[in-house]
């Protein structure tokens, strides 16, 4: 029998609220089955079983918010003997750092043992997104955690428990800040704090690509047409083959280059922007990419993204669309090391073969982490995108 714990559905998630259980005790589940729906500060996710088994017990009921790692259910693996009529709680509890919340137990029962922390420190911890339980020892009287301890913990921003950005200096009304806003604030603050960005831009002639696309779409029903952003995504995915150091994560002082290309696609929602991943974008045909993008956008708006989609992106692409500005110089989503931006596709004056002509073009930008790559390589990457788009048929 194993505990099923509240999963981490993102680097900056430290707790989740259970919205609904899709299974009940006694149900057999297979790996990949949806067990429950969890709300993080960003969105609602379906959480899947990580192995086959039988649900023995639900430990936390919907409506409760528990820290990541808290056991929320017990699942007996296939082949394992059923538990005794009633579980003996003592040894289970002893090994679990956080006492599991029993069904119908009051909410507070899910909290760790009472923390010795000053009221002010508790408030500041909440504001700074610091989990005070992870502060080993307080410096205050009788070992109490004080505001200074919390602020020190927040300053060690590489610590995983820092999940939220400091409040704005104006002291804006906290209650109005939404979860997604907080998450964006935290990620973007961390990015600008930690990542030495460099920025490059390149104006790309899109006439060949768009002409090709129009021809391709001419023979298709509307529902099967490929939109220009998909072409751009595909170009990015292939350009990564040539400059792979832009694809991956900067973790613990080193670049972890990713074998796969999971393109994070920035999607604007009412409450903010999220960038779920299209997995293995480089291996997908234009048609598959188009379908994946449409599906992702729809599910993002409905709040039914899968956890992996929120955490797996290896590089992010932001496309501000045809009504957007000329160019976008984005902020890298840590721990990724690069972000590609596309501004509006519009006719621009370009010099082609010595002639000044109006061509439909786009300004592609690259924001990249200078720890992981240099401007020369970044430039090659943008040029590769431009070259690939000159020969769209090869995409």
């Amino acid at each position: 029998m194993s505990d099923f714990n509240m999963p981490s559905l993102g680097a900056d998630m430290d707790e989740g609220e259970i919205l609904a259980w899709k299974v009940k005790p006694g149900d057999s589940v297979r790996k990949g089955d949806v067990l429950l729906e969890v709300d993080t500060s960003k969105a609602a996710f379906d959480v899947e079983a990580d192995h086959d088994g039988v649900v023995e017990e639900i430990l936390v009921e919907p409506g409760h918010k528990v820290p990541v790692g808290t056991p929320i259910a017990r699942i007996r693996q296939t082949g394992e003997a059923p538990a005794e009529s009633k579980p003996v709680p003592a040894p289970e509890k002893a090994k679990a750092p956080q006492a599991p919340v029993k069904v119908a137990a009051p909410k507070s029962a899910g909290q760790a043992p009472h923390l010795r922390i000053t009221p002010l420190a508790r408030v500041v911890a909440k504001d700074l997104g610091v989990d005070p339980a992870k502060i080993e020892r307080g410096s205050g009287i009788d070992g109490a955690i004080t505001r200074a301890d919390v602020e020190r913990a927040a300053a060690r921003h590489e610590e995983p428990h820092v999940v939220k950005a400091p409040p704005p200096p104006s002291g804006a009304d906290k209650s109005k800040r939404e979860g997604l806003r907080d998450a964006i604030a935290a990620a973007m603050s961390r990015s600008k704090r930690e990542i030495p960005h460099y920025y490059l831009s390149q104006t790309i002639d899109l006439d060949p690509a768009l002409n090709w696309l129009e021809k391709l779409n001419a023979g298709r029903p509307i529902t099967e047409r490929i939109l220009s952003p998909v072409l751009l995504l595909k170009a990015v995915a292939h350009a990564i083959w040539e400059v792979p150091e832009l694809n991956g994560y900067w973790i613990d002082g080193a670049l972890n280059q990713s074998e796969s290309v999971h393109l994070g696609v920035a999607i604007s929602l009412h409450s903010g922007v999220i960038a779920p991943a299209i997995h293995d974008a480089d291996d997908k045909s234009l048609e598959q990419l188009m379908a994946a993008l449409a599906d992702l956008v729809q599910r993002a708006r409905h709040g039914t993204l899968k956890p992996a989609e929120m955490t797996d992106s290896t590089i992010t692409v932001t496309n501000l669309g045809d009504r957007g500005p000329e160019a976008v110089y984005g902020v890298i989503y840590p721990p990724q090391v690069a972000l590609v931006g596309f501004g509006a596709i519009a006719p621009r004056a370009m010099v082609i073969d010595g002639q000044l002509v109006a061509r439909r073009s786009v300004i592609a930008t690259l924001s990249a982490d200078h720890r992981a790559s240099d401007g020369h390589r970044g430039g090659l990457f943008l040029r590769a995108i431009a070259r690939l788009l000159e020969h769209p048929e090869s995409l």
Binding site: T118, P119, G140
Partner: protein
């Protein structure tokens, strides 16, 4: 122009001004005329204003405080000097049951514009029956205003504002302050009696006190500064009604507080201040509150024992350091 005067002289000047400006004002109390007052506050006033307005009372607190209440009801503006707060217990019935309630009991028809001054406090080897601090008892009672001048300027100005109050006001004059001197402008006069005053700005810890312990708190702040602890000193000035906003403001600034009170700790006025902090500024607190109060013993006569029983600069510094230190 300014001049340096003592707290005692400032009180006397205030009486002189009040008696000069308003014919309804008179002073009554034990030994205030012939002897010039036990603490020499009224010295010389009798020569100037005569026995009708500076009146020696018999040793009957209940009697002359009651007379003061009657005179106030009749339209006069009496200042009743009760030699010390210890003896005021004999007049508690008059103060609590009559002075404080008559406006209410008469449906607003009767007001009692009475000022009662009391010396108070220990530190002068006057032993267990003459050293009390009981201002919290009076601050408990609705219908009274309770003020505690802690500076020469407040000694000069609070009496005049108290006399203008249509309801009874109790003024506590700590005997340890009488010799305190300060520079006052020639035209010093009435001061407001509604608000607490920050006597020293600081950022790490608030020392909250009033009356006789203000000089100790200020000295403690000086010593704390030498230890790199920045202490803010708040003088409450008026104990009833209490300036909650000032208390919350200083605690919100420093996030730590030590309340210094010469009352015994159990049921002290410091307890009230601490409770208000917890009620109104709980989430500002970054350390437990501390109280520096008198030891729970009758105040000893022996000098060293008396000093040991009272709030001291050293105890204030220790309490402030304890809750401010970081390992």
């Amino acid at each position: 122009m300014s001049r340096t005067i003592s707290y005692r002289e400032a009180l006397r000047d205030a009486h002189f001004q009040a008696l000069s400006e308003d014919p309804r004002v008179f002073l009554v109390g034990e030994d205030v005329n012939c002897y010039g007052g036990t603490y020499a506050v009224s010295k010389g006033l009798a020569d100037h204003f005569g026995a009708d307005r500076v009146i020696d009372a018999p040793l009957s607190e209940s009697g002359f405080v009651g007379a003061g209440i009657g005179a106030a009801m009749g339209g006069l503006r009496p200042i009743v000097e009760v030699m010390t707060v210890n003896f005021s217990l004999l007049a508690l019935d008059q103060i609590v049951n009559a002075a404080a309630t008559l406006r209410h009991m008469s449906g607003g028809q009767i007001s009692v514009p009475l000022v009662i001054r009391m010396a108070m406090g220990a530190g002068r080897q006057l032993a267990a029956q003459h050293s009390h601090s009981l201002e919290g008892w009076y601050a408990h009672v609705p219908g009274l205003r309770v003020i505690a001048p802690a500076t020469v300027a407040d000694a000069r100005g609070m009496l005049l504002t108290a006399l203008a109050d249509p309801d009874p006001v109790i003024i506590f004059e700590h005997v340890g302050l009488l010799a305190l001197t300060d520079e006052l402008p020639e035209n010093a006069g009435a001061v407001e009696i509604d608000k607490a005053a920050v006597r020293r700005e600081g950022s790490d810890v608030s020392l909250i006190t009033w009356g006789g312990n203000l000089p100790k708190a200020l000295e403690a702040a000086k010593q704390l500064e030498a230890a790199s602890i920045s202490a803010e000193v708040l003088d409450l000035r008026t104990l009833r009604p209490l300036d909650d906003a000032a208390i919350v403001a200083t605690v919100s600034k420093t996030h730590r507080a030590v309340v210094i009170d010469e009352m015994w700790k159990t049921g002290s006025f410091a307890a009230e201040v601490c409770t208000r902090i917890v009620e109104q500024a709980f989430f500002e607190l970054d350390a437990p509150l501390r109280r520096v109060c008198s030891a729970e013993v009758p105040i000893p006569y022996a000098r060293h024992m008396e000093l040991a029983a009272l709030p001291s600069v050293a105890r204030i510094v220790q309490a402030a350091t304890e809750i401010t230190r970081h390992e």
